[in-house]
Every structure is written in C-alpha cells, then in structure tokens.
C-alpha cells in the first residue's frame, strides 16, 4: 500500500501490463525471461532516473539521446577493439557525460537560456560533432570487456540488471539525501528555497550533471548490449521524458518521486514489449503509446490535488 502511495497509480498500470505480457508469453514468468526484460529496460530506466532530476527541478534535458549516441560512437573509435583501452575509455565516457551535463546546467542557469533550447542546441551540437569526428559513420570496434556490462551475466544475473539496481538505489538514496530535498524544493518554490539558503543555480546544474551521468551509463549499457550503431540514441530523450511524466512527475518541477519515474520507464518498456507481443507492430504501436501517455497524464492532472501526502 505504501508503494502505491509513494509511487502512485503507475504501479497499478505496470502490474496490469506485466500480467498481460505473462499471459501471452509464459516464459516471461521464468527468472530468465523476467531478467531479460529487466536487462532490456535497464538503459531507459537509468535515463529516466537522470531525466527525473532535471524535470523535478523544473527543467528539461533533450540532449540525452544524442549523448548516448556520442558515448557509443566515441567508445568504438577510441577502443577500436583494444581490450587494454577499455577502462580508460569508460572513465572518459563518464567524464564526457558529466561535462555535457555541466555545460547544459551552466548555460541554463548562468546564461538563463530556457533549458528546452539549451539542450535542443546541445542535441544538434553533439550529434553533429561526433560524426564530424568519425567521418559520418561509426568506426572502430568495442572491446569484449566493454561489452560485458551490457551483454554478459554475473552468474545468473545480467550485469546491466546489477548496474540498474545500483543506479536505481543510488538515485533513490540521492533523492532522500539533503541534495535531493533541496532539488525538489528549488523546483517547487525557487524563491522560498533561495531564502532558505539553497544555492538554486548550483543545485539545478547538478541535476543536469546527473542526467549527463545517467546518459553515459545508459550509453555504456546500450553499446554493450547491441554493439556499435549510429542511431543507438535516437528518440531516447523523448522516451525518457515520457517515462518520467508517466510516473506522475509534473513538468515544471516540484512534484513526483524518482521511484515513480523509474516505474514509468518500466511501464513504457513493458508497453513496447506488450504491443510487439500482441502483434500491434510498428504502425499502431505509436498510436497506442500516444493515447496512453495523454490519458495517463490527464488522469494525473485530475488526480493530483486529491493527494494529501508528499513523496519521499
């Protein structure tokens, strides 16, 4: 019941979808099947967590999709099949993620450019720059060690699931920490926050940095899962935002929990799986997606005023 309170109705939706999936595909109920689902969902869930930090502070991050692509393409070119290069490059990727996030944050807070525009511009710059660098198409190859995280298992459990658990746990812990509460407060009432001594700009910037970090991790997982690809990140930014909003997090900031945002991502992934399972391929898949998103958010808008307890 507590879950329902902190996570909101999204868990119900998620449960229903999972049940439908299981109904059509019993394999889903076996550990292997379910782990496969988690593995597949991991990147989006992590992205959603990152996006949550930005949205709850009242901003947007449209650059994560292209950032994921950058991660994979850069990794492929720098590693170029050389196992030894794996760890340095991993470190570099994380650094890139943090740096891009920092740039987004500073431009948005210090130059007061609406984050929608900041990150839209960043999206163009990133996707352009990376292919400018590799001459149009990905080159080089990823090392086995690099791919371990997205592809291999540790015992029965996929690495990506472990990473997901770690990231998810970290995100929740972070939101319970001082920083998390300051972040939400800033998103809720910027003025009150700053009159309480919150460094609003710094806090928001940090949110972008976290989003960048999440994109880096997601990139590493996706690259590991499926190898080099030029369009690995395509449309992920909208999926992430959609997931967060599905989780009942209000655009404009100040409301919603990171757990719910991640649940939203699982829901979205489950929706994809389900539609594909029931053969609503490509075509109507999107239509259904659109309807469900609008419906969910509309329901949220109507529901929220009735909520009497805050999320933690």
């Amino acid at each position: 019941m507590r879950a329902l309170r902190t996570l909101g109705p999204i868990v119900v939706v998620l449960a229903v979808l999972l049940a439908l999936i299981a109904a059509a595909n019993p394999f889903f109920l076996e550990p292997a099947g379910f782990l496969a689902f988690l593995k597949r969902a991991a990147p989006l869930v992590i992205l959603a967590a990152g996006q949550y930090f930005v949205i709850v502070s009242g901003e947007f991050d449209l650059s994560v999709g292209s950032l994921v692509t950058v991660q994979v393409v850069v990794a492929a070119r720098l590693i170029d099949g050389d196992e030894a290069a794996t760890w340095p490059v991993l470190a570099l990727l994380v650094a890139i993620g943090l740096l891009i996030g920092l740039a987004n944050g500073v431009i948005t807070t210090a130059l007061r450019v609406p984050s929608f525009i900041t990150t839209l511009g960043m999206m163009l710059v990133l996707s352009g720059a990376v292919f400018l660098w590799t001459g149009g198409a990905p080159r080089g190859a990823l090392s086995e060690a690099f791919r371990t995280f997205g592809r291999k298992d540790l015992g029965p459990v996929p690495w990506s699931v472990l990473i997901l658990l770690a990231a998810g746990g970290a995100a929740i812990a972070l939101m319970r920490s001082d920083f998390g509460r300051r972040l939400v407060a800033a998103g809720d009432n910027e003025r009150a926050a700053s009159l309480s001594g919150v460094r609003v700009n710094r806090t928001r910037t940090l949110a972008f940095v976290l989003s960048g970090l999440a994109a880096a991790v997601a990139g590493i997982l996706l690259g590991g899962f499926a190898g080099v690809s030029a369009q690995v990140g395509q449309g992920l930014e909208f999926q992430a935002i959609t997931a967060v909003v599905l989780g009942g997090v209000a655009l404009g900031g100040g409301r919603g929990s990171v757990a719910a945002a991640m649940a939203g991502a699982f829901t979205l992934e489950a929706l994809f799986t389900l539609l594909n399972l029931y053969g609503i391929s490509g075509a109507l898949e999107f239509a259904v997606q659109g309807v469900i998103i609008i419906a969910a958010v509309a329901a949220g808008a109507v529901r929220l005023p009735l909520r009497r307890t805050a999320h933690v």
Partner: protein, 363 residues
C-alpha cells in the same frame, strides 16, 4: 517554458486555498523594486530602439555579408539568382510552420506534432487530388480540415484535460505517426501539374512558395496586430491570470492558437505535396519541422514562455537558418558541421536575448 508550467501548476494548487491573495500577492518591497526599476530605466529607454526583431535582422545581414565574403574567397558567387531562389524555396515550408508555431508559443504553449501533421496533410491532399485538377479544391479543404481537427484535439487536451502542452502534442504526434505508419508505406497519391506550379513557379526571383509563406506570415502578423484574438494571445502568454481577471477566456485562446498552428502545418504539407508531386509519410519528420520550427521561433526572439515576440522575428529566424544553410551549401560544408553551427547559433542567440531582457525587466 518550465516557469510557464510552474505558474500554471502553482495557480491550480493555490485555487483550493482560502483567502486567495490578489494575483501576485501584495508585497510592498515589490512595489519599491519596480519603482526603482522604472526610475533606473534610462538604459532600457536607450535600448528601446532595438528589439530582438531588429537584432535578428542585423544578425541576418551579418551572416549574409560573412557568407558573401567566405563564398567569394572560396571562388564562388554567393548571391546568384539560383541561390536567392534556393534560399526562399528552402525556407518556405519551414517558414510557414514556424509562423504557426509562433502563435502557439506566444500563447505560452508549443506544438510538437506539426511534423506529422505535415506528412499527413501532404498525403491526404495528394490522394484526393490523384492527379486530377478537379481534385484540388476538395483536397485543399480536406487537408486543412484534417490539420484543423488535430489542432483542435491538441488545444482541448491542453485546456480541458490540463495536460502539459509538451506531452499533449507529443502524444498526438505519436497517434498521427501511428496512423501514418498503419495506412501508408511510402509516397502515395499524385498531384496534378497545375498544382505543382505552386511549388515550382516563380515570378522573377520570387517563387510562388515564398509568396505563400509571405501571405501566411502577413496574415499572422495581421491577426496579432489587428484582431482581438491576437491581443489576447499576447495576454494569455504574458500572464494567464491577468488575462482571466480581465475577462479573457484563456482556454478558447489557447485552443484557437493550436488550431491555427496546425492549419499552418497543413498549409506547409500542401506546399510540400506540390513540391514532391505526391504525398510522403516521412516528409515532415525528415525535415525535422517540429524542433526546427521551435528553434526558428526562439531564434527570432519570441520568448519560449510566451507573451513576448512576434511573427517578424520568426521570419527573420527562418531566413537566418536558410541563409546559413545556403552558405554551407556553397562551401559544401558537410551536414554534421552544419548541425554543430546551428546548435551553437540557436543557444547563443537566446542567451543574448536573455541578457537584454533581464537588463530591461524586473523579474
């Protein structure tokens, strides 16, 4: 746009509370600050001459000059008839969409569904025409009707269901996309020669498509300057609460802007159909008209939060992007470098506006 949403939410939250403070809530120090502001505004006055619109056109001239020089160095000739025509042809479709987008953004909303509306209308039109001249009029009617309908849905979802414009229009976008994928695989329909003239003919150096764009822009300008709706779009985007207290039906205004925005996308779809000779399910998304139109609008100095800016700036913004494109074409810069520059230009421009605005205004 986030702050727009914020205030909206805040108001909804405030509604059930007792003792609603007079909008804004009296706070003496605010008054004082404003007083100082009014006084210390000589600077603002001096700047008054140059608004964002002028800035964008100055930038446009700058880019043209720079382009001319660069191309000359490259041994080319920048302002040939072909390039001038090319610039207009390239900007016409985006321009029309951006004009519609301007209306939505001025009202404090935005529309992410335009790209798919374009594709859909291009198909609807081309299929109804099916190469027959007789089909043109019904095609126009149907195309505009379809787009208007989508705009209506957008508007109602935003105002009635209180869904944030970002999500609402993203949702309708997905729905339209689904329908497109479901019904079409590849280009369909055929437009008659006579209709293709819209896309290809030109009077001297001015393509008909550019005239169409100019027409749409002029109409929008007129709407904003001379009609009640126009005034109220600014009011709603500027401060929905003030507008409401002045008896403006804010919901209707937002719905209206979304209908108009979609119709503009529909017109762009028609134009593209005439260019392509057929309808294409990907023409809108390939063109990236959704985000690019928004980019063009803010590049033109219209505030993403709404209430400030205008069509003039948007036209400038679109032209700026088109000229950049053309320069890149001349210099045969590859597509990726273009994106980098575009991204930087957009962010830089908005940063400049932000500086200027903050110098002028209290908040």
């Amino acid at each position: 746009m986030s702050d727009h949403a914020d205030s909206a939410v805040a108001r909804r939250a405030a509604a059930p509370e007792p003792a609603v403070p007079p909008p804004g809530g009296p706070a003496p120090e605010d008054g004082q600050r404003r007083a100082r502001d009014g006084a210390g505004n000589g600077g603002g006055r001096r700047w008054a001459g140059i608004g964002p619109t002028q800035v964008i056109y100055l930038a446009l001239l700058g880019v043209m000059a720079a382009g001319w020089v660069l191309v000359a160095i490259d041994g080319g000739d920048f302002l040939t008839l072909e390039t001038v025509v090319g610039i207009q042809q390239r900007s016409a479709a985006l321009g029309i969409v951006a004009v519609g987008q301007t209306l939505a953004i001025l009202a404090g909303s935005l529309d992410l569904s335009v790209a798919y509306v374009i594709s859909l209308t291009s198909l609807v039109a081309a299929e109804i025409m099916a190469g027959r001249d007789g089909g043109i009029l019904p095609a126009l009617a149907a195309a505009l009707a379809v787009s208007a309908l989508i705009g209506l849905v957008n508007g109602l979802v935003i105002t009635r269901l209180q869904v944030h414009a970002f999500i609402a229009t993203l949702g309708t976008a997905l729905i339209v996309k689904g329908v497109l994928d479901h019904l079409y695989d590849g280009p369909a329909g055929r437009v008659p020669e006579s209709f293709q003239r819209l896309g290809y003919d030109r009077l001297g150096p001015v393509p008909v498509s550019a005239l169409l764009w100019a027409g749409v822009a002029a109409a929008a300008w007129f709407l904003l300057r001379r009609t009640r709706l126009g005034y109220r779009i600014y009011a709603v985007g500027g401060d929905a609460e003030v507008a409401r207290l002045s008896g403006v039906r804010t919901g209707r205004v937002i719905v209206a802007t979304h209908v108009l925005c979609s119709v503009c996308a529909g017109i762009a779809g028609l134009l593209l159909a005439s260019r392509l000779g057929a309808g294409a399910p990907t023409v809108g998304t390939d063109g990236g008209y959704d985000l690019e139109s928004i980019a063009a609008v803010v590049l033109g100095g219209t505030a993403l939060a709404g209430g400030r800016g205008g069509v003039g700036g948007t036209v400038g913004g679109v032209l700026l992007l088109a000229v950049l494109d053309s320069v890149f074409n001349q210099l045969e810069v590859n597509a990726f470098a273009k994106d980098v520059v575009r991204g930087v230009v957009i962010v830089a421009a908005v940063a400049v506006y932000a500086r200027r605005t903050s110098r002028r205004r209290s908040r």
